[in-house]
């Protein structure tokens, strides 16, 4: 029972008024976040308060993990060590040849006057946890603005592309996995060189869309990044085709793929450095500027999109 004066006078606003105020506020937040994407600063500011609590909540899991690691038997470690050594020896031949080929490739490209390929480099990051939201597939990694991580950087593991950094907070960053429903990766089929875009399905699989029903795709085909987007470096493995449905009543084949990288696993990942923007040839720049002058209404976003396309 309350020991307060009877609530004759001081009761604040009516509950319905308060309710409509808060509902309006939440709906405004929802619309602003979903449609305008202008709340990143607010998110970052609020994350300064929630991040310590989240960090605290991860501690027991980490402790259990560490305890588990501590009791791993010596013999298993020795086995693993021997296996790794063998794998390294197996790879040495390929690696040495690759280095040689890379140098040769650079020289040949110079001879031909083709621009040099960018070397893949990046920084290592630890996956902290997967986001709680059951509607999207995202993970949180332990590098953020402090480590100069930018939104849009590709994230890989030892087997291929894992995803892309979509939100950066001061100390952590959010990575959208390639299996997320809103993530798309431009790819190329290794066997045929066919270019397409692979979309996440949200259930751990990927789908190659808009390929004609008679497209030359087989089960087991490996997809690698095509690099046409200007974000992913070309040649990284993305997925393997596992199932194809060719229905003559549809004009497109339904092609399902499984990601090659350990997308849903907890491990370490590498954040690749962003690709430098490709400089447009002089003529195209002038043309674009002329078009811009004719239609000054066009927004900056449309311009950016067109530049990317070019």
């Amino acid at each position: 029972m309350d020991h307060q004066p009877p609530p004759f006078f001081k009761r604040g606003p009516a509950p319905v008024a308060l309710l409509s105020f808060y509902v309006a506020l939440s709906v405004a937040l929802l619309v602003a976040d979903a449609r305008l994407q202008t709340l990143e600063v607010l998110r970052q500011a609020l994350s300064m308060f929630t991040h310590p609590v989240q960090h605290l909540a991860q501690l027991p899991a980490k402790f259990l993990d560490n305890a588990g690691n501590y009791f791993v038997s010596v013999s298993r470690l020795q086995d693993e060590n021997a296996q790794l050594k063998r794998a390294r020896l197996d790879n040495v031949a390929t690696l040495l040849r690759t280095q040689h080929l890379e140098i040769e490739n650079v020289r040949l490209r110079k001879l031909l006057g083709v621009k040099e390929r960018q070397q893949a480099s990046g920084q290592l990051a630890q996956i902290l946890y997967s986001a709680r939201d059951p509607y999207s597939r995202r993970i949180v990694i332990d590098k953020g603005q402090q480590d100069k991580v930018l939104a849009g950087q590709p994230v890989i593991d030892d087997a291929g592309i894992v995803g892309q950094v979509t939100r950066v907070f001061p100390f952590v960053a959010e990575v959208t996995l390639i299996t997320d429903k809103e993530q798309a990766v431009p790819v190329q089929i290794v066997r045929t060189g066919l270019r397409s875009v692979v979309f996440g399905l949200g259930n751990g699989q990927l789908e190659l869309r808009f390929l004609p029903a008679n497209a030359d795709v087989q089960d087991g085909d490996v997809l690698v990044t095509s690099g046409l987007d200007g974000i992913f470096l070309p040649g990284f493995p993305v997925a393997r085709v596992v199932h194809i449905e060719r229905d003559t009543s549809y004009s497109f084949a339904r092609i399902f793929c499984m990601p090659l990288a350990g997308v849903e696993n907890f491990s370490e990942v590498m954040i690749l450095d962003p690709r430098p923007a490709v400089v447009l040839p002089e003529q195209l720049v002038r043309e674009a500027a002329g078009r811009e002058a004719k239609s000054p209404v066009r927004s900056g976003q449309a311009k950016k999109k067109r530049l990317k396309k070019d």
């Binding site: 029972m1 308060l18 309710l19 506020l25 998110r43 991040h51 986001a131 059951p134």
Partner: protein, 174 residues
């Protein structure tokens, strides 16, 4: 269990405000635990907000629900305002139904709490579907059911600090 302040002869001490805050923070912490893989885990914060808005509608209202909802949204990588909207609605329904719900024994209380918890999930579900996400499957609605099953236990634990000593004497006949 005879802990309800209406149906039992037991008179409870007034709640301490710091305990409400502490329990809500603890629920936030529980929500942040990496339990995403188990679908049956209830939304602890929703449960606590419903509990306190039924028990103490004048202390825990829509304002607190909104603040904790936004905190969940930021931590959860979901749409900003999704949890806030759901929690605010749950707090409103909880406080407007509190006079009725507290008259029932704990089992029946739990039955009345189930729709409130389902409302929390349903609001988030429809918001995300409207925003273009995929349905996460029927197991998404398992959480409220387990939350409902936990209600009697939760009530007992959260009311423990308000219990008076049971020894009766001439000055304290109850």
């Amino acid at each position: 269990m005879q802990t309800s302040s209406y149906s039992s002869s037991r008179i409870l001490l007034p709640v301490r405000p710091w305990f409400i805050g502490f329990s809500l923070l603890a629920a936030l912490l529980l929500n942040f635990l990496p339990t995403t893989v188990w679908r049956g885990v209830p939304d602890w914060l929703a449960l606590l907000i419903v509990f306190w808005s039924i028990r103490e509608p004048r202390r825990v209202g829509m304002g607190l629900a909104f603040v904790f909802g936004v905190a969940m949204d930021v931590a959860d990588a979901s749409l900003l305002g999704q949890h806030a909207l759901a929690y605010v609605l749950a707090a409103y329904c909880g406080s407007s139904l509190s006079r009725r719900i507290l008259w029932f024994p704990l089992g029946l209380q739990a039955l009345q709490v189930l729709p409130l918890l389902l409302l929390v999930q349903l609001v988030q579900f429809s918001v995300r579907l409207l925003a273009g996400a995929d349905s996460p499957g029927i197991s998404y609605f398992l959480g409220p059911i387990f939350g409902t099953l936990l209600w009697p236990l939760l009530t007992f634990i959260l009311l423990l600090p308000q219990h008076q000593p049971v020894d009766r004497d001439a000055n304290r006949p109850l």
